[in-house]
Symmetry: C3
Subunit: 341 residues, 3 copies
């Protein structure tokens, strides 16, 4: 979609300096501006870019004073950053206008479907499943029997929600996510085989949760695996059975959390971290990327790193010496020679 | 589904103490019991929970003697653990009663479909593919041409089985699993590009195998990538071309196995482990989480840990000293000063 | 499919020694030959296998001289390796003959579909999407609105391409891949929650790119996440928003690249590597498996390893001493005693 600069100026309450008719179809950073693009200038560090940017329009502060000629149209506002963020949000909304029910799709006659939903072609809504008002189910997404999806939640394409799982309001579930696969539980038998431990719990995802592409969340063995309000999970994360992730915790890609581990609220977990099972991590904890967490962490707002983890600064010291281990080893050998020789 | 306690008592041959009419709809641990739930008491360590549990019913041993009042109905049996496991299995079976062929689905006229199958809406069964008796193919699952699925096997939603791959009997394949994608083989050319090495083999998954959500198993370059009887793979595991995983080996989430590596029988592999290609791991080997295995392991039942791995206890010692490397380094510097100063 | 040996001999211009009528239906290595299979002998190290192979036919050099009886039919050519590679490619081509449009599928009336395409049942082609000539879209694959797929590209089953993303010519995208999910961007708010940073960019995949199963590539926050010509990505890789991967770089499975990191041309990255965000890796760099890269790498063709990475050989030395840390520590304690005692 394209809009004349005049339309955008109206949206953000800007005064226009330059060509008001040029058409805008994308947003960008000032240093990456291209014709048809709009960008903003807030940080004086970037001011020099405004004289060379290819962007068609730049949002600037009311008090901005140019010291060289500028090709782009200027849009003057009180707060350029806020105005640009507003445009970004509008652009994001325009990308999500899907509505209605495409055919063919499969909706069980016993399913409850809210109002103003989008259900894409080839979506599958199982028996007694519930889809809340304003929710969007993209093509090829599977909602198992008795599963419940709240209001204003989006499930992108090729998502699988197993039977009986629950997803709340205002959630965003990316393509390929699996919610409710069996926990990994197998009891060793005398003949060397394993007997499957039944996995009859479910997954409960609360509200305002975002789950990244191809992340997997296993159902509880009994009870629920629970992702609390406001949690943000990146792509390709593994969440095992009966894990609880506390409110507003964010976890980067490819991290894995083993069964029954509880992570507190407002934690920040890096990518490719591993947690063993049955441990407790308190609130506000930070874990560096690629760490291995094998025991409880009880100190709020503490920072950890390494595999196995130790306190963050201690780990950095150990790592620094590790890089010079050859030198340390040589010194010890020298000392040995001096002592014994 | 709900059942009166009396029905459950009949199922497990229990004598009832208390209200036989209360309705049960879920199973739980005794410490997490809620109204409508049934739990069990076997381990004396948990006995105190029976006096406070909210569960509607508790399965106890015939010889259990209460020392305080209990609100829950008691179901007395010889072996509470076995009785509860039996109920768990019944509950699991009730979750898997899907049968019949939903429409629309795509079944090639040349495919062979067994009896008592479930084929969900939007499932795709390719030319000359075979689906055994009692097998369940969930919605959005793709079975390529000439692929063969055995009897009483379940493929959950959004699984992709490439052409010519084979899955045996009594297997459980979770959502998003990919079976038979191309091995990662590319021959460097003089101009810096890579030429694709054709990948014409297949994947053979034997019987009683469970594969976790979004795990990927590449086809052999030539011949087969093979997952042997009784193997259990967790979620998000990568199995490269021509890998062989021996009978009854279990592997935790996010582990990756590079091309042509052979893993023996009855091994236990932790999560996020990496194996380089073209190595052999003998039977009964245990590998700790986040390890990196870069060479053959020839000692049966040996345990390993670290990246690169070393023998388990040796690695623990190295890790312990690593955590105190700063101290060690200081001592060396002190000694140096004393010697030289 | 089966072919008599005589047909295969014609294809590769071979002279036949032995039974020309036996039927061939598979290719294999000489040490794994089975009846109905054809293999080749080029490396003298493998010559002894030719006297015991079960294969029905072996491609040998014109000047090969047998010293014992051989059961297999011999096919004599100038260059056995090239002849075999040619057969492998033919076999691969025969596996990819899908064409036509299967029903039911969903093709928006505003989509542009090229000639000689394959569109599988349950494929979804969104509004204004473009599919180039000769391209194959397998079942359950989702092409969002305004997405563009070039010519002679294959997308296997259950792939999700979000709106506005672009994939070039001659690409191969394996099952379960996600292209264009939102970048992981969340701005912390005063109340502890996070506000979503809109992700309005896209993903651009250039030509001759291969992407492994269940790999995820996030869209740019603004601008594009870019996978350049000739890049080969293995399975389960995470590529974050605004990452750029340079021409002809190959990356092994389960590696993760954080936001805005740029990787140069012709790099070779091992499996399970992690890159932090906003760093630059120059051309021709090699990174060992399970490494953690947390800073710019500016030396072309340099090799690195470890977490955090150090120069390859230096890291190997540190690792070697790490394995003997216990011994080193004991020596230091001994020296201490000698000095102080």
């Amino acid at each position: 979609m394209k809009f004349p600069i005049s339309t955008i100026a109206q949206l953000i309450g800007a005064t226009i300096e330059g060509n008001a008719n040029a058409e805008i179809f994308t947003l960008s950073k000032i240093e990456e501006g291209k014709p048809g693009g709009i960008c903003f200038l807030a940080n004086p560090k970037y001011t020099h870019h405004i004289y060379s940017t290819q962007a068609s329009a730049v949002i600037v502060a009311n008090d901005f004073v140019a010291t060289e000629p500028i090709l782009a149209t200027l849009l003057r506002v009180e707060n350029p950053y806020n105005a640009f963020t507003f445009l970004l949000q509008k652009a994001q909304e325009m990308m999500q206008v899907k509505t209605g029910i495409e055919q063919p799709c499969f909706i069980s006659p016993t399913a409850k479907i809210g109002e103003n939903v989008y259900i894409g072609a080839f979506a599958y809504i199982g028996h007694y499943a519930e889809i809340g008002n304003g929710t969007k189910i993209y093509p090829h997404t599977y909602i198992g029997d008795n599963a419940k999806i709240g209001e204003n939640t989006t499930l992108h394409a090729n998502v699988s929600v197993y039977m009986g799982c629950e997803i709340g309001h205002n959630c965003l579930i990316h393509a390929g996510v699996v919610v409710g696969s069996d926990g990994f539980g197998h009891a060793p038998q005398n003949d060397g085989t394993y007997a499957k431990i039944p996995q009859i719990g479910n997954v409960v995802i609360e509200n305002h949760v975002e789950i990244g592409a191809n992340t997997t969340i296993d159902r509880g063995t009994m009870g629920s695996t629970r992702i609390c309000d406001g949690v943000k999970l990146d792509n390709l994360i593994q969440v095992a059975h009966n894990v609880v992730i506390g409110k507003n915790t964010v976890i980067a890609a490819q991290t894995g959390i083993s069964g029954s581990t509880k992570i507190g609220e407002s934690c920040m977990i890096g990518g490719q971290v591993g947690f063993v099972g049955h441990i407790n991590i308190t609130n506000g904890v930070k874990i560096g990327a690629q760490s291995g967490v094998s025991k409880d962490i009880r100190i709020e707002k503490s920072a950890w790193r390494g595999s196995p983890v130790q306190e963050y600064r201690q780990q950095l010291k150990s790592e620094a010496i590790f890089r010079q281990l050859e030198e340390l080893s040589k010194k010890v050998h020298e000392l040995e020679k001096m002592m014994k020789g």
